[in-house]
């Protein structure tokens, strides 16, 4: 695990540093700018989908999906980040305690 932690950290710093260091012409192109704006949306959406309803056995709608449903409600109510995450965890935990998912 340590090599992955350190390589990810090094890449994160080098990306930030490159912005401060490199001449603008290298990074400041429309394609680079647009990709950097779109990538977080696409990656976060893909991560949400896979981690909500994919398990080693295939497509699954279980307590996790119910928890994320609770998170959607919290987001619609403009709850802060910690409340969103806690409502998902609590919903999933309660459903499991009741023997579902």
């Amino acid at each position: 695990m340590w090599p992955a932690v350190l390589v990810a950290s090094a890449l994160a710093f080098l990306t930030k540093w490159a912005g401060h260091l490199l001449p603008e012409a290298v990074l400041d192109r429309p394609l680079v700018r647009r990709s950097a704006a779109l990538l977080p949306i696409a990656l976060l959406a893909a991560l949400t989908a896979v981690q909500t309803c994919w398990s080693p056995t295939g497509f699954t709608l279980d307590a996790r999906a119910a928890g994320v449903g609770a998170a959607v409600v919290a987001l619609l109510l403009r709850a802060p980040f910690l409340v969103v995450v806690l409502s998902a965890a609590a919903t999933a935990a309660i459903l499991r305690a009741l023997g579902w998912g």
């Binding site: 340590w2 090599p3 992955a4 350190l6 990810a8 890449l11 994160a12 710093f13 990306t15 930030k16 540093w17 490159a18 912005g19 401060h20 260091l21 490199l22 990074l27 700018r33 647009r34 990709s35 950097a36 779109l38 990538l39 977080p40 949306i41 696409a42 990656l43 976060l44 959406a45 893909a46 991560l47 949400t48 989908a49 896979v50 981690q51 909500t52 994919w54 295939g58 497509f59 307590a63 996790r64 928890g67 994320v68 998170a71 959607v72 987001l75 802060p80 980040f81 910690l82 969103v84 995450v85 806690l86 409502s87 998902a88 965890a89 919903t91 935990a93 309660i94 499991r96 305690a97």
Partner: protein, 245 residues
């Protein structure tokens, strides 16, 4: 951004300084609370407390850290975890590009940041510090103070929150029973939510999500996320290019 020498409309007196410090602190507190959930999720994903803390101290970019531990938790390989985190961090490079321009000292002591200060500025180049700095342009002095105050506040409270969450989760029993596996996608969704500002953002998110799920049966864990996102972004760029032509 060029009006560095002209006085800004807002007076740069003690009150303005107080309000920058107060806002930086309140951003730090909010981010610190979310770091508690990151620390807990990271330990639940199988990292130990020290590795979790290393991510917050060294990687120091919330979405990338969540992605890293999320991919690890889902059984994705280290390469997929590193690649997903690195791709999510690309936007920080563009923030740095912008900040390098606005963090220059006002004349006559002008010029870009050097050495350790530049390395520190790079490390602190994240969503919150960039947004706070940009909110104070074109007043160079206020912009710089907002950047550094927010950077320090978020860095310290993010790491403190991480420690609390990691130590707390390390003392708990089975994380699945506690629903921490539902907290991971909820965290991603909360990071995604404010970015869904228009219909094209929703369309992009939907294509990436469906693409990743369709690819999940045929690719190794961790890879479908990158592949689905790459397909969606590639498609969006092609569509934009065609409609611009």
């Amino acid at each position: 951004m060029t009006g560095a020498t002209t006085p800004s409309a807002a007076p740069d007196g003690p009150r303005a300084r107080d309000s920058i410090a107060a806002r930086a602190l309140s951003i730090g507190v909010a981010v610190g609370a979310y770091a508690v959930s990151f620390g807990a999720i990271s330990v639940a994903a199988g990292l130990d407390v020290l590795q979790t803390q290393a991510l917050s101290a060294l990687l120091f970019s919330g979405a990338s850290q969540f992605a890293f531990v999320g991919v690890v938790a889902a059984g994705g390989g280290f390469v997929a975890a590193v690649a997903t985190a690195a791709l999510l961090g690309l936007r920080n490079g563009l923030y740095g590009l912008h900040l390098a321009r606005v963090l220059t000292a006002p004349p006559p002591g002008g010029g870009r940041l050097r050495g350790w200060r530049r390395a520190g500025a790079a490390h602190f180049t994240i969503d919150e510090s960039t947004a706070m700095a940009m909110a104070h342009e074109p007043d160079v002095a206020a912009t710089r103070r907002a950047f550094w105050a927010t950077g320090w506040s978020v860095f310290l409270l993010w790491n403190l929150g991480t420690l609390l969450g990691a130590v707390g989760a390390a003392s708990l029993a089975d994380p699945a029973v506690l629903g921490l596996d539902a907290a991971i996608p909820a965290g991603f969704l909360a990071l995604l939510w404010p970015r869904l500002v228009d219909r094209s953002a929703w369309a992009l998110a939907l294509v990436a999500a469906v693409g990743a799920l369709l690819l999940a049966p045929v690719l190794r864990p961790g890879v479908p996320v990158i592949a689905g996102a790459a397909l969606a972004v590639g498609g969006a760029l092609l569509l934009e290019r065609r409609s611009a032509a």
